[in-house]
């Protein structure tokens, strides 16, 4: 596009600038709010006049065990991802590399589960969690999170598994490799990019989940961060501590944002593998 007229360039750059502003400004404003306290909160300027980290420090020494909540979230998301990826890789190998009867139906079922409304299992899951003795425990959330992470991991990994060269597998079989060794020694190194993107998407899903976390964990010490943020309250009902809420929001979002921006190519390829070709 070398022959774009001048007005075209102006329009293009204006739109691009507008797009960047709309995308980024709200989060910048959240950061700004998190650095303000007292009456300065109600000043709508982006640049805080007297920036302070009081809101951040307050989160970790106040009555809300935010540090604990962060650890809970990290633990739940990590366990969920590990679980989903390990089971997902073996299942994807079977679905992506082996022809067998009933495969089409199985794939359709997997897609169906990954798209169905999670709230439909709420009461049954409530009963299951209680029966397993996992009610009110952060780690128990891994059970409901498997509903949406596992099928989706299997689906995306199957797509990637299918694209691996056939010759590689044949050579490995010739050398006497069993299926497990093919998966973990031959395919795994090639699948790294796919594993990173699925792992990240599953991590984001588990990290952000709200409905199950709100319903199955009531004990304050066991909460995960999304619920924690939604419940941050002030000294009285009329005083909402926006500074603390924004500080917590920034803490929860920055690592995620960093991951997404660093791995953006991989994430986009994971999303498109899951959706566009799906």
């Amino acid at each position: 596009m070398k022959h774009r007229p001048l007005w075209g360039s102006i329009a293009l750059y204006t739109l691009a600038a507008l797009l960047v502003a709309i995308s980024v400004y709200p989060f910048l404003y959240a950061i700004s709010t998190s650095l303000k306290s007292g009456a300065a909160l109600f000043d709508t300027h982006l640049w805080p006049t007297a920036p302070s980290f009081a809101n951040y420090i307050g989160l970790f020494e106040g009555s809300q065990p935010f540090g604990r909540h962060l650890m809970n979230s990290i633990m739940v998301a990590t366990v969920t991802v590990t679980f989903a990826v390990l089971l997902g890789v073996t299942a994807a190998y079977a679905l992506g590399r082996i022809q067998f009867k009933g495969k089409g139906l199985l794939l359709l079922a997997i897609l169906g589960v990954s798209m169905f409304p999670q709230v439909a299992v709420l009461s049954g899951m409530f009963e299951l969690i209680q029966a397993l003795g996992l009610y009110n425990r952060a780690l128990g959330l891994v059970v409901p999170y498997t509903i949406f992470t596992l099928p989706f991991t299997v689906w995306i990994l199957t797509t990637f598994m299918r694209q691996l060269p056939k010759e590689l597998e044949e050579a490995a079989i010739m050398d006497g490799c069993g299926p497990l060794r093919i998966i973990f020694l031959v395919f795994m190194p090639l699948l790294w990019p796919a594993l990173v993107s699925t792992g990240l998407l599953a991590f984001i899903g588990a990290w952000n989940e709200f409905l199950f976390a709100l319903t199955f964990v009531v004990d304050d010490a066991q909460r995960t961060v999304p619920v924690s943020i939604s419940l941050i309250s002030g000294a009285n009902a009329f005083e909402i501590p926006w500074g603390s809420i924004m500080a917590a929001s920034v803490i929860v979002t920055v690592p995620l944002l960093a991951l997404v921006l660093v791995f953006q190519q991989k994430i986009v390829s994971g999303l498109t593998a899951g959706a566009v070709k799906g």
């Binding site: 995308s23 709200p26 404003y29 009963e127 409905l211 999303l271």
Partner: protein
């Protein structure tokens, strides 16, 4: 390859853990939820449940055909939540698709700083829903919010608006925040589809002097229709089960409460597992039906071949 029946046994062996797990965590709870919907059960004692048949659906205090709905079905809480959910899903998905198309077309142009813009566009998508709900809740605050301040300064309004509390605005606020958050997803999927289009076709059209709008309608849109429709279905299913955004942004107020919100309120806050399960089962059927109708209308096929 080695013995096919042997391979097929390996396949099932490898699939077994996943299948068993999916039965335990998805199929079984779903089955139990449907069973609960035919009972009267309190959340505090699940074992003391009483079978009531279709009472939760069509009984005196049921979801449908309830004689206590004096103002008609659509004015009842359940009817409102269905209407809210569909209003939300329709407008947010339609606007996201249009905005996503626009952003994708823009990012498909070659210009300096494109990589930067593309990265910036991802930011709303990377922000957790709860955080974006809180963030916008603060920006749209009725007294101290920056949006109200900006509107007043620009002279567009004289009285500050309670965006999240006023029933007149609450639903549109929810839709707007959702569009902000999910447009990047749409845009990226559409962009990926746009980048697979053959370049020479566009060169030829340019040489022939075809109007860009005509080119868009006659060439681009038909070519990306498949991936676009799949993206729309994904978003539609997501929007129809909305819960967290509404729960946090507008506190589940009756003008915005979604079907999922209704289910959770009845089931957990009011403790009526049976009635709540009837609502969740209805929700499941309604969403399934909506997706089916949409796929029929859009003629999208989700087959294993395309995986």
């Amino acid at each position: 390859m080695s013995n096919p029946s042997n391979r097929s046994r390996t396949a099932w062996l490898f699939l077994a853990p996943m299948i068993i797990l999916m039965i335990v965590v998805a199929a079984w709870p779903l089955g139990r939820s449907i069973w609960f919907s035919f009972t009267e059960t309190n959340i505090n004692d699940l074992s003391a449940s009483r079978f009531v048949g279709l009472e939760n659906y069509f009984g005196e205090f049921g979801l449908f055909a309830n004689p206590n709905y004096v103002d008609g079905f659509w004015k009842s809480d359940w009817g409102m939540s269905i209407r809210n959910t569909f209003t939300f899903a329709f407008f947010s998905v339609a606007l996201e698709t249009l905005a996503g198309l626009g952003v994708a077309m823009l990012l498909n142009q070659e210009f300096r700083g494109r990589a930067f813009v593309r990265t910036a566009v991802l930011v709303p998508w990377a922000i957790p829903t709860i955080v974006s709900a809180k963030m916008w809740g603060w920006m749209l605050h009725d007294q101290f919010g920056i949006i109200n301040q900006m509107l007043v300064n620009a002279g567009l309004i004289t009285q500050k608006i309670a965006f999240t509390a006023d029933p007149q605005y609450a639903m549109w606020t929810v839709v707007a925040v959702d569009v902000w958050k999910t447009t990047p997803f749409m845009a990226l999927l559409i962009l990926a589809a746009l980048q697979t289009l053959p370049k020479d076709c566009y060169e030829a059209a340019k040489v022939d002097g075809v109007h860009p709008l005509r080119l868009f309608w006659k060439v681009t849109l038909p070519l990306i229709k498949g991936p676009l429709m799949v993206a729309v279905i994904f978003r539609l299913l997501d929007a129809l089960r909305v819960f967290d955004l509404i729960f946090v942004l507008t506190s589940n107020s009756s003008s915005t409460i979604s079907m999922s919100g209704f289910v959770r309120r009845e089931m957990i806050d009011n403790g009526n597992m049976g009635y709540g399960s009837a609502a969740s089962t209805s929700l499941f059927l309604i969403i399934f039906l909506a997706a089916f109708i949409f796929m029929r209308l859009a003629r999208v096929k989700l087959s294993e071949e395309s995986a």
